[in-house]
Symmetry: D2
Subunit: 142 residues, 4 copies
């Protein structure tokens, strides 16, 4: 599969831990969001660029598999990969590494679709601006 | 001082605790928000009513004093009071009771102002709809 | 499949919305948590009961599929079902209804495992207390 | 007043915005937390160092004054100052700059106290380790 890759270091906030002393499971979706931000910066396709084209790109599906905990004081590194798809959806895969223990803390996936800002209806085919952006990228084998 | 009063019971979410095993301090601002919601319902002045009048009412000041912890599994009750003021600001005071221990967990204050949705500038005098709402209320001594 | 069911009404907090004006996707995991809490109360198996038996029950897998948005001012109702499994895992399925529009806003799943509080290692077989709890329940067909 | 200073750049997460399109007011306490983290790293007094000495340092008071909004896509820089006090409390002051508009978005304060991890009672005098840490610092005029 052809992919584009990026990664980001995420320090763990105290407020993100829970009473088990580790990062609360739901906060991994924030780490995924941080990784998408970094990806957007690296490849010139940030959320606001997409918005300027008249689209929201809401998350329609997300999955997280937790393998190991991240304790307060530890750092996470999130690796993000964009998969190439023919249909009008944006699928990212994630691997969260506990950079202190070097263990895989979690893996995950998010799927986004294109929605018109104007009337919040779904765009069923790939928007032109996105196809152009895709063509310009230097996709590599995963 | 003349006030209007309300209160709400808030169960403590696991995700709201931190690695000290208690509610993370910043989450009290969510409890305050819950109390404002309840107040809005009780007195017919919800956020969306205000928005329909053309105003945002952003928080411009907030204060929290923590007196005791709330552990996971305990319940909080938030008491909220609206103070009567002449100027174009909305001042609520809060008391958060740990309903399991009956201790005061925190007290606090928020101040909101009126901002035009249209251009996000400040409204310096009390909007007419708000003055009318105030007049209809049955204010009591604090 | 044999299941146990519960449900809970969840008012949408303003702080839970995002710049698209709807509930931020990650916050559905908090709604799922609220539903597990309610389930625990209804069936006498709350987090702290489990903890008292010497176990954490961390989430090892979660999935959310978003079908429709929930705007601020709308209310969600979360339906939760516990599936009966032979292995040492706890699998809940969720359906989040936007109670204002009556649309299904999201469906989801979480899987939890048993972990010893003492050394944070995994318990690979169903703990005795949990088997006893399961036996006492009145499972119904899904 | 004698102080120690630090600062940190904080990208604004989409999940931290609200339905007004700006950073939700309560999230500034997370920015303050980020700044305390950075301060701890810069001056060799991180949360876990304090914990290793047998103390929690819970927030007992926090204040935020909001001056301007931060929109999604903008970056915040948080300046943090530790004030020198004789009593057993830790007082930080904060200034949050919207680095895109160069406006002051907020100012704030937090007060922390020393609490024994062992029994969660308050330490009323400055712990020895903290006095030693204070003496080693090169305090400057605010």
């Amino acid at each position: 599969m052809k992919v584009l890759k990026s990664s980001i270091r995420v320090p763990v906030r105290f407020s993100e831990t829970d009473a088990m002393g580790v990062v609360w499971h739901g906060n991994y979706l924030k780490f995924f969001e941080d990784a998408r931000e970094q990806f957007g910066k690296d490849f010139g396709i940030q959320y606001l660029d997409v918005h300027a084209q008249g689209y929201f790109i809401p998350i329609v599906k997300s999955e997280i598999s937790h393998k190991a905990s991240i304790f307060y004081g530890e750092e996470a590194v999130v690796h993000i990969i964009l998969e190439q798809h023919d249909s009008a959806k944006i699928v990212f895969r994630y691997k969260v590494i506990n950079d202190t223990t070097k263990q895989v803390a979690a893996t995950g996936m998010t799927m986004q679709v294109f929605m018109f800002v104007s009337d919040r209806t779904l765009e069923l085919i790939k928007p032109e601006f996105y196809k152009i952006w895709e063509m310009k990228q230097n996709w590599i084998d995963a």
